[in-house]
Structures are given as C-alpha cells and as structure tokens.
C-alpha cells in the first residue's frame, strides 16, 4: 500500500504562536503543541524503524524529504508562476475561473498520477488498478475545463439580465 496523502499542504497561515501575547510571546499552548507534535514524530519514527520490513525506512525518508523538496522547488514555483501569468495576462472576469481550473487540474494530475502511470499494477491480480485511468483522467480534465469555459462565458455576459 502506498501512502497518497496530499503533500501539498495549504499555504501556511503564518506563524501561529498560540499565544495571545503577540508574535514574540510563546504561551503554554505553544509548548504543549510542540511537545505533542514531537511526541507524535518520535512515536512514528520508532514505529517505522521497528516495522522496517514493511515500512522500508530509507524509502520512507526519501518520500518524506522528497515531497518537501518537490513542494518547495517545483510546486510552489509553479503556483507563483501561474499566479503571476494569470494576473498579468487575463482580465478579471477570466482570471478567477482559470485559476480555479488550473488549481483543480494540478491537484487532480498530482493525485491521479500513480494510477495513470500504473504504479501498483500486478499482473497476477486483475483487481489491482482495474480501470482505464488515463481515459478517466482525460474525462475529468474535460469536465473541469468545460466548467471553466461556462463560468467565463457567464461572467462575460453583459449584466442586467
């Protein structure tokens, strides 16, 4: 089984110190959160090492660190670039639907990539990845961009209906 958690965490909401005293004050909540967070991390690492036959720690480490690198180097850069281009090139009526379409398509591409590529296919097990995921992904992208087109058309319609 492969973990497919969304590595694209929503952009952080800044530093939440959990303290009402302002950004520099670190209240009890901060330290409780820190202790709880580290406890979970240590517990996970100990568990992963203890179950190393199933968890394969080097692969796990590559996955955890790799997603960080890919997120910062590729994903975040792409998002900034897409935002910049859509802000400069598109009128406001078009911009929002196109941005929603881009974001949805990007997430869909990321999350369906393993199925489309057939990661986890096993010749002896016909019920593993039994569908035509490339075709289904194409249909889903079609639906997204038809919705974007409809939305753009509606927003461009002269008001006063």
């Amino acid at each position: 089984m492969t973990a497919q958690e969304d590595p694209v965490a929503p952009a952080g909401t800044g530093h939440d110190d959990g303290a009402p005293g302002g950004p520099s004050g670190r209240g009890a909540l901060f330290w409780i959160g820190l202790a709880a967070g580290w406890a979970v991390i240590v517990w996970s690492v100990v568990g992963a090492m203890g179950d190393s036959i199933d968890t394969n720690p080097p692969h796990l480490a590559a996955w955890v660190l790799g997603t960080l690198v890919v997120h910062d180097a590729v994903w975040a850069t792409g998002v900034v670039l897409a935002g910049w281009v859509t802000a400069r090139r598109l009128t406001p009526a078009v911009r929002v639907p196109v941005r929603v379409g881009l974001a949805t398509s990007a997430l869909l591409a990321l999350l369906t990539w393993p199925q489309v590529r057939g990661y986890g296919e096993r010749p002896a097990t016909p019920s593993a990845l039994p569908l035509d995921y490339a075709r289904n992904a194409a249909v889903a992208f079609g639906v997204i961009w038809v919705a974007v087109a409809v939305s753009v058309a509606l927003r461009r319609r002269p008001t006063g209906m």
Binding site: L107, T125, S127, P130, L131
Partner: protein
C-alpha cells in the same frame, strides 16, 4: 482545493460505497472487479500457495487445546453441516465488497474437536502462505463463537476462486480484510 478534494472524494468513494462505483473514476480498486466479482488484495501466485492449495494432500488440521484433533480433507469439509453468511471483505487498502459466503462454522468445528464452552478460547488460523505478516490471524472468543464466522468453501454459490483462498478461507463479521485469512490449513486452539 475544496473543489478538487470534493471531486476526488466523489471519484474514489465508490470503491466502498457500492451505488457510487460507476463514479469511481480514480479508485485503485472497484468493489465489483475481481475473480467472482470481488477484488483481491493478494493473489495465490503472489502468496506462493498454488501447488499446495490445489494438491490432493490438502488437509485442515484442528489441533492444540482440543480433545479430538481433526485432520479433514476437502470432501470431509464439504460433508459437514454448512452455514451461510453475507459479509464484507473490508480491506485496509480502502475498499470493501460484500458477498454471500458458505462453509463450515468455526464454532461447529470447535464442537467437533471437543472444545467445550469455555470463555477464554482463542483460535489461531494458519494459512498455507509461508511468509508475510498476515499468514495467520487470531479469533478471540467472540469471533470464534459467532455463528457467522465461517471457514468458507463457497463464494456466491461457487467454489472459492484460488485467489479468494481456495480451498478454505476465514470470513467473519467485524474483521479487517487482512485478518480474513485465506488458504486456511490449520486451526490451533488455545
């Protein structure tokens, strides 16, 4: 993000919610795709049990804390009283599929082996599969005595497919799929 999450949920939830299965565009399993219409997590070839599961020397042994150890052939098992149960395979992979199973009640086998009504009975269920973390499972008292806990010989009115655990698999209520041991060859009563 919310829209994409909703779309992905809608297109994968069908792997366990039957009526939505045709929307399960991206589900890695479909509850109706597989031998006998039920998905398989681990095929017989992958488990390396094909030869022993189909050999005429196959036996189910019931041993351990029993007064009458049993060693039953496939036809012995078919000759015992059969029970039926409609139960799901709920796999930790995220899919579930419900089917009609028929076979020998584990409780009936325990009675046959002379295991009394003691409350602390536990039954280890061993597979023909030699390696792997899930080549055996344990039935506690409640699971072992439940009238729906079967060693199934049939799925949907047909003999079990080899990939579903032919000749004999465990199926019981409220157990994760990985503990519905397949290719069962030995019960050890404790």
């Amino acid at each position: 993000v919310a829209g994409a999450a909703a779309a992905l949920t809608l297109t994968t939830v069908g792997q366990t919610v039957g009526p939505l299965r045709h929307l399960a565009f991206f589900a890695p399993r479909r509850p109706d795709r597989g031998p006998q219409g039920v998905p398989v997590n681990r095929a017989a070839i992958e488990a390396g049990v094909v030869d022993r599961a189909t050999a005429s020397s196959y036996r189910l042994d019931v041993e351990g804390a029993v007064t009458r150890p049993l060693s039953l052939t496939l036809s012995d098992l078919q000759g015992l009283a059969q029970r039926e149960a409609t139960l799901p395979i709920s796999c930790v992979e995220g899919w579930s599929a419900t089917a009609r199973w028929r076979g020998v009640g584990v409780g009936d086998l325990l009675a046959l082996a002379g295991v009394g009504e003691r409350r602390d009975v536990e039954v280890e269920v061993h597979s023909l599969e030699e390696g792997g973390a899930y080549n055996r499972s344990v039935l506690n008292h409640w699971h072992a005595r439940d009238r729906d806990t079967l060693l199934a010989l049939e799925l949907g009115g047909e003999p079990l497919h080899l990939d579903h655990g032919f000749p004999l698999r465990l199926i019981g209520p409220n157990r994760p799929g990985v503990h519905q041991t397949k290719w069962v060859t030995r019960l050890v009563v404790r």
